[in-house]
């Protein structure tokens, strides 16, 4: 099943994978019961692609993304099942097996965090430590993962204290020792080296005057600049996978476009794969190679950007797309999907969307539709409607953009 475990000699190999989420289930213990926030989600992220994970608030997309780095607090969170396999480029080159991020010991996971998998958050204003200058915050990645590189500029035998300092593991006494001669010159060289590396990382994000930014505190920067700092920090170690959790939601539209361009540009140059979480469909359509649509803790459909947005097989995807106001749409009612998202407290086996779906049949309230490439469709979709090619058509309903699948 997994490409690296079974390297197939056939010329048309499966696309290389960076990560494979298999049947992931993340539950939360609450007072009213166990909430199945993510319930059997599977998708794959291919090498160098941008995968968009879309869905409305509370559908579990952030929880899925955070599971990659095990950022879910347990308790109340419970990793109830499944695995997230990850192939670092290095591991793949050596033909090594993938690692399961969910069972990896914390010490090894920490080596992956920020190094092979990086993440940027929604609100750059809250993602930077307000009590620490920018330089320190970006330098932290290098201290954690690139201490050897930090020491590269120092020739000769480097004292142990300095080597520890490059990992930020010095004690107060040692730091005081570094202020007096034998160690001081090493300390200064290390500082310059850190300055240079941080400066370069910031310069890559086209931030104006990186040296000056380095000495600033977060409150002295604008939102766009802060997000650039976050991107610099995230990409400093050249990760194989970047998880971007709505990185532009908190920014205004003009800055948004520039940040997106920046991510795209850096991603292409470094050949990083991106998992892009968003609820903004038009944006996802623009920047993602493939799209996974999530609804109430499950994947509704997965496919290339083009096929999902043109064929929109799942009734939920259709509803979403229909709800995008067109430019010609000047006044009046906005289209919306009827009803509300179901409670995810111990849900019975059924299609999660059946209460709001106008095509629902009796089967939908009884069984979970599996996600699979149904007959006549080019991408996997979790809907019984595709069991037999093309049974139903859109009736004379109010949805403005509703087309019946025409195959």
């Amino acid at each position: 099943m997994t490409p690296s475990a079974k390297p197939s000699p056939s010329p048309e190999r499966k696309p290389l994978l960076v990560a494979s989420v298999e049947d992931l289930a993340v539950h939360f213990q609450t007072k009213s019961g166990i909430v199945h926030a993510v319930d059997g989600v599977s998708f794959q992220i291919r090498d160098e692609e941008t995968l968009g994970l879309v869905g409305e608030t509370g559908c579990g997309k952030s929880v899925t993304a955070r599971s990659f780095l095990r950022l879910i607090a347990t308790p109340p969170g419970i990793f109830a099942g499944g695995r997230i396999l990850f192939w670092s480029r290095e591991a793949r080159d050596h033909g090594n097996k993938p690692i399961d991020l969910l069972t990896l010991p914390l010490a090894r996971l920490r080596e992956i965090r920020g190094n092979r998998i990086a993440m940027i958050f929604q609100d750059p204003g809250k993602s930077l430590n307000p009590a620490m200058p920018i330089r320190e915050q970006v330098a932290e990645v290098f201290y954690q993962h690139r201490s050897a590189e930090l020491l590269a500029g120092l020739n000769g035998k480097v004292p142990a204290t300095i080597r520890r300092h490059a990992r930020q593991q010095t004690t107060v006494a040692e730091r005081l020792l570094m202020r007096v001669p034998p160690l001081r010159s090493y300390g200064r060289k290390l500082r310059t080296r850190v300055d240079d590396m941080v400066g370069d990382a910031l310069a890559e994000t086209q931030i104006p005057n990186p040296r000056k930014i380095m000495a600033s505190y977060p409150h002295e920067l604008s939102g766009g600049m802060k997000q650039r700092v976050m991107i610099a920090q995230a990409l400093a170690c050249n990760p194989d996978l970047l998880i971007a959790d709505e990185p532009t939601t908190a920014l205004d539209v003009t800055v948004q476009a520039r940040i997106l361009e920046l991510i795209r540009d850096l991603q292409q140059r470094r050949r990083t794969s991106v998992l892009y979480i968003s609820h903004d469909l038009s944006l996802v359509k623009r920047i993602c190679d493939r799209v996974a649509v999530m609804y109430a803790g499950r994947i509704a459909e997965v496919g290339t950007s083009g096929s999902v947005f043109e064929e929109h097989l799942h009734p939920y995807t259709r509803g979403l797309l229909a709800a995008i106001p067109a430019r010609a749409h000047t006044r009046g009612e906005l289209a919306a999907i009827e009803g509300t998202v179901p409670e995810l407290v111990e849900p019975p086996p059924s299609c999660r969307f059946h209460t709001r779906c106008r095509y629902a049949v009796e089967l939908c309230s009884r069984e979970d539709p599996p996600l699979r490439g149904h007959a006549g469709t080019s991408h996997p979709v979790a809907c019984f409607g595709y069991e037999s090619a093309n049974e139903w058509h859109a009736g004379p309903d109010g949805m403005p953009d509703l087309e019946a699948p025409t195959r």
Binding site: L69, L71, R110, E111, I112, R113, G114, N115, A118, M119, F121, Q122, D123, K126, S127, L128, N129, P130, A131, M132, P133, R135, E136, E140, V141, Q144, H145, Q168, D195, N209, R211, K212, M214, A215, Y217, H219, M230, Q233, A234
Partner: protein, 306 residues
């Protein structure tokens, strides 16, 4: 056309210390904008100056300078008497000496108690707040037990059990006051822990301890600074109260003791022996309150104007 070559400008990155100092300067300027705070600071500086210069301002009593000198030939002298500008007590103690050396006693009391309680509170509160779960549950129940007893009564009981001495007052106050800090720092840490930048630090692979030290603690500490400043005044007040009801040794150069000694003479018109040390307690507590409030206005995010 002439190509203008602009040399690259290299702006030096200030050292970590310089950056910190700049930040400190910003806060200091903001604090000093409030006239009440400036007055408070002035009084504090004067009081601490007085405490430090006590042996210069008066001739230290031997063998123990913290004991009031006795002049049995000058009982109940009113202020202005030659040699006794603030008068004497009914035991012939120089009120001025008591006022000056009392500031030393108070400074010692407040520094030791605040230092000890902040340290204990910081450790307990950090463990509870940062680790959470069972550790939090157990520690906070212990704190609840302490908090369920009114602080003055609790301190009084401890000091009474240990026996009347100034050292026991310090001990009693330390035992009573740490809980406040533990609660405060715990709440603050839980609040800060939920911030995105803590997740961001985890995302780049920081260890738990490093996250605590670099991200959580620095952002949790400001309310502690404010509370500690306020308590520098409050503790002297409570300490004086305990001394007043006789829990410290007699004859100590301490404001509460002096007020207590002098109160019997008030009805006889000898107001000075109680009034001057009482005024010192008042000024001390007021000054630290003014500065504490000023700091709170600047440091507390809820009152932030930025």
């Amino acid at each position: 056309m002439v190509d203008v070559v602009v040399p690259p400008v290299r702006i030096s990155v200030g050292s970590r210390l310089a950056v910190r100092l700049r930040r400190f300067g910003e806060v200091a300027r903001e604090v000093l904008r409030n006239p009440a705070t400036v007055v408070g600071l002035f009084v504090i500086v004067a009081m601490i100056g007085m405490a430090l210069l006590a042996p210069v301002l008066t001739e230290a009593n031997t063998p123990d300078p913290y004991q009031m000198p006795r002049d049995w030939g000058a009982l109940n002298e009113p202020p202005g008497t030659p040699g006794f500008p603030l008068g004497t007590t009914s035991h012939g103690g120089d009120v001025l000496y008591g006022v000056i050396w009392g500031s030393r006693t108070s400074l010692r009391l407040s520094l030791i108690v605040v230092g000890a309680t902040v340290t204990i509170g910081l450790i307990i509160g950090s463990l509870a707040g940062f680790l959470g779960g069972k550790v939090d549950e157990i520690l906070m129940r212990v704190v609840d037990v302490f908090l369920s007893i009114p602080e003055l009564i609790f301190a009084l009981a401890i000091a009474a059990v240990l026996g009347p001495s100034f050292r026991n007052i310090i001990l009693a106050l330390a035992v009573v006051f740490w809980v406040k800090y533990a609660r405060l720092i715990r709440g603050q840490i839980i609040h800060v822990k939920g911030n995105d930048y803590v997740d961001a630090a985890r995302v780049i692979g920081d260890s738990r301890f490093s996250i605590y030290r670099r991200d959580v603690l620095p952002n949790s500490i400001t309310p502690i600074i404010v509370q500690a400043t306020l308590d520098m005044g409050h503790i002297v007040l409570v300490g004086a109260t305990l001394s007043f009801i006789g829990l410290s040794e007699a004859g100590l150069a301490e404001w509460g003791v002096l007020v207590s000694d002098g109160q019997a003479g008030i009805s006889a018109g000898r107001w000075w022996a109680s009034t001057f040390p009482g005024a010192m307690v008042f000024l001390w507590a007021l000054a630290f309150n003014l500065v504490g409030d000023g700091l709170r206005d600047v440091l507390d995010p809820r009152t932030e104007k930025r």
